[in-house]
């Protein structure tokens, strides 16, 4: 039995670091929690999770789960929640969780709160703080009943310490033949990159429309990111203009980042973009428009032509 199940995300090689941050929310809720991993060939991944303070690592390992298809995954997750008597199901805010967990919530007849930022207490009752309207408002939400599904904003919760005594790994048995069969995986874009993951990087360098074309974008944004050992992000406009791939988009409908250092180049600061960066510790803005809204929230602002300034900055970083 476990009061809470935390769904762990992985890429077949290793656990996605942000998904571990959801464990911290499970700890804050109190009670025992178990980690749940689905996939195929999970021995190494399961073994990497035993020191996270969970009561168990529950593994659903089967060829039928080789790809994260929502109908199958939600069915197995709901079965596991029922078997272990878990009242709360948590994942981190990612497209993986957002695809699968609402479906699991419906199967469990449970309400769901997306993007939890913090736990609150209102008149002695538990409540959840979450952003709405592209982060321009914070709502405090209460849930009726004793069951719920939550996604945790990884940037709002620390990574948990992994120094607990090892917990058991339990195999979750289910009947693969009983799973839904209406979805089929075809392919996934593979892009080799030596750069760190956008949502995990200590430094993120992002570019907007003034970067003009993919070559300039790569030379200036990619060049500075590489000099700093950082990740590359982009605005919706830059992605729409074909300068950067879709999954580089940072903002309300893209990724939420909170690095130590965020450098915004040629980004005016639409509210939808700012929603994805405002918890960064240091924000640097480089823009030729002195009135750009990004300067209202940047720690350091530099007004000027990025085609001149950024090569200088890359050079200065390289010099150390």
């Amino acid at each position: 039995m476990a009061a809470t199940l935390v769904l762990i995300e992985h890429d077949r090689q290793q656990v996605k670091r942000p998904s571990l941050h959801a464990i911290t929310l499970a700890r804050q809720l109190g009670g025992e929690y178990a980690l749940l991993v689905l996939g195929h060939g999970l021995d190494a991944i399961a073994a990497s999770l035993v020191s996270c303070g969970a009561s168990a690592v529950i593994v659903a390992d089967d060829a039928a789960l080789a790809e994260p298809l929502a109908d199958r995954y939600a069915a197995v997750i709901a079965q596991a929640a029922q078997k272990y008597g878990a009242k709360t199901l948590i994942g981190s805010s990612s497209t993986f969780s957002k695809d699968i967990l609402p479906r699991a919530a419906a199967l469990l007849d449970a309400p769901m709160v997306t993007d939890v930022l913090a736990l609150e207490e209102v008149n002695g009752e538990r409540a959840y703080r979450r952003p709405t309207s592209a982060g321009s408002m914070l709502a405090t939400v209460k849930i009726e009943g004793d069951r719920c599904v939550l996604t945790a904003r990884a940037t709002a919760f620390e990574a948990p310490a992994a120094d607990a005594a090892p917990c058991p790994i339990e195999r979750f048995d289910f009947d693969p033949a009983s799973l839904p069969n209406g979805m089929q995986f075809i392919s996934r874009e593979q892009r080799a990159s030596d750069r760190p993951d956008l949502t995990e990087a200590r430094v993120v360098v992002s570019g907007g429309r003034p970067l003009q074309d993919p070559e300039t974008f790569e030379r200036l944004v990619g060049g500075l990111a590489d000099a700093l050992g950082g990740a590359v992000g982009a605005t919706r406009a830059a992605v729409d203009a074909g300068m950067a791939p879709n999954d580089y988009q940072v903002g309300q409908t893209g990724k939420v980042v909170a690095p130590e250092l965020y450098i915004a180049m040629g980004i005016s600061g639409a509210i939808q973009h700012l929603a994805g960066i405002k918890d960064s510790r240091i924000i640097v803005a480089i823009n030729k428009d002195p009135d750009a809204p990004i300067f209202q929230m940047a720690t350091y602002g530099l007004v000027g032509d990025l085609h001149q300034l950024v090569p200088q900055l890359i050079e200065a970083v390289r010099r150390g």
Binding site: T95, A105, L107, S133, T140, V239, Q296, Y300
Partner: protein
């Protein structure tokens, strides 16, 4: 093929600061409407049914959907503050009644940002789902749909059996502008009004928003005059390099 497009009325997210925000069709749902129209224009759909939930004040946004080209519009009359799970349960009853081959809707509403209803509806119906899509094509005499999904790791392609729930991401299409004659014509189209009771569904929202607040504002920092000055600040003041 019949397509149901559920949509939500939301405050205009592009209204300038201080301006009284008028209501609009949720931008992601507008993309869903546009895609349904394109599917019909390619001869792959015969009817598009738009549906929303709310009081009569949302009729304005229903007119926008009709003006874009939706064939028929339904409003489920309910003025309560519903949560995504309540909306999904109401839509399940509506989908059971309309029996479409495809439900196409936005991946999230830009006011609530929950990103739940489509997936919950798929779970309740036991239908396949394709979320956050940037492309859809029909296969095998429209018994299946191949969808490109936008995920954190890049693009993913899946095939779903129909009927299915499909939710739209930003880059699926650019919605058309509503023409004035379209808007005039839409004024004459009927809006069918249903109640939850007529749909045979009783739902109570299970989540309640107790309060809302503005987040603390990030203070504007300092302007620097040169790359050299920026480097000094980053090293000595912010200690981030």
């Amino acid at each position: 093929m019949k397509i149901v497009v559920p949509f939500k009325s939301v405050p205009d997210p592009y209204a300038g600061p201080g301006a009284a925000a008028k209501s609009v069709v949720n931008p992601f749902d507008e993309i869903a409407i546009e895609e349904a129209l394109r599917i019909r224009e390619r001869g792959e759909a015969t009817e598009i049914v738009g549906v929303t939930i709310g009081p009569a004040t949302v009729d304005e946004q229903i007119r926008s959907a009709l003006a874009m080209g939706v064939d028929r519009a339904l409003r489920i009359d309910d003025s309560r503050a519903l949560d995504p799970y309540a909306v999904a349960r109401i839509l399940r009853a509506l989908v059971a009644k309309e029996a479409p081959q495809l439900v196409l809707m936005g991946k999230q509403a830009v006011d609530d940002d929950s990103n739940q209803v489509g997936q919950m509806l798929a779970g309740l119906l036991g239908w396949p789902q394709a979320t956050f899509i940037s492309k859809i094509e029909f296969l095998e005499n429209k018994t299946r749909a191949q969808c490109t999904r936008e995920t954190d790791g890049g693009l993913e392609v899946i095939v779903v059996n129909l009927p299915a729930i499909v939710t739209t991401d930003l880059r699926l299409n650019e919605p058309r502008y509503v023409s004035l004659p379209g808007l005039m014509k839409a004024r004459k189209k009927p809006i069918e009004v249903l109640t939850c009771e007529q749909l045979g569904v009783t739902v109570q929202p299970l989540t309640t928003t107790l309060s809302t607040a503005r987040p603390p504002k990030r203070a504007a920092g300092t302007r620097v005059e040169s790359v050299e000055e920026l480097m000094v600040k980053l090293k000595q003041e912010a200690k981030v390099l």
